[in-house]
Symmetry: C2
Subunit: 146 residues, 2 copies
């Protein structure tokens, strides 16, 4: 059974980089013990913390939002979301997601409308151009006309 590991192994096991771990430590999110020679030392519990952070990051949580989950785990709770503060973050994130999705759907609808309108305008111009005796186009299309 493994007793401890250094930063490279932890990073590899969590699918991230040593730079990321040092960054988390600099943010006070994942402090490390040190061996005699000054190397960072981690254990399985740290891996669990790290995986919790990474999972939430993958969901789009920013680092500060993962802190309650990490604190919760370190307090001895079985899961990072076993604490009210974590649940509050979940709820806030759900609200944010709903708001964002709504905005994006609104934008999507508007852009879709614009595309439809622009295509129709293009087709109408093309039709006029082919109608005998039709009006000349307002401007040239991508170079020369006709």
């Amino acid at each position: 059974m493994r007793i401890g590991m250094r930063i490279g192994e932890l990073a590899a096991r969590a699918g991230t980089t040593t730079r990321t771990l040092r960054y988390y430590e600099s943010r006070g999110l994942l402090p490390a013990r040190r061996t005699d020679n000054g190397y960072r030392a981690y254990d399985e519990a740290d891996l669990k913390l790290l995986r919790q952070i990474r999972t939430l990051q993958d969901f789009g949580f920013d680092l500060e939002e993962t802190r309650p989950f990490v604190d919760c785990l370190r307090a001895g709770h079985p899961e990072g979301d076993s604490c009210p503060a974590s649940l509050a973050v979940y709820r806030r994130k759900l609200d944010e997601l709903d708001a964002l999705i709504g905005e994006l759907q609104s934008v999507r609808a508007k852009v879709g409308e614009q595309l439809t309108r622009a295509e129709r305008a293009r087709d109408e111009l093309a039709a006029e151009a082919t109608v005998p005796g039709g009006p000349e186009p307002a401007c040239e299309w991508g170079g020369r006309t006709r």
Copy 2:
């Protein structure tokens, strides 16, 4: 009838800042003529270009994506989206939006699941704690463990 305006007025009329206009110019998106004293000079056509840019920016297009629309207008076309390149940007943006919305909805579902699961776990712990002779909680709530 207005013949021209300086940067402050154009910015105000488009609801943006002089800094933004200089930035657009530095990106080659909205070059300005100059008066004798070196001041930037704009006209109504520039306002139209600027409004096109701002509208797309509000939709979440990045600056480079607005370039085809601006070029289209400057080429003399009635609308910024009267050119194939603009339509291509619309379509690409629609695809991006659909992909992003899909991802966000997926994340939303997962976070929602997590919240539900965590709340259920919490309620079960609470129930066990009140049941006479029930098992002790895995850890203390909001205090220290061990």
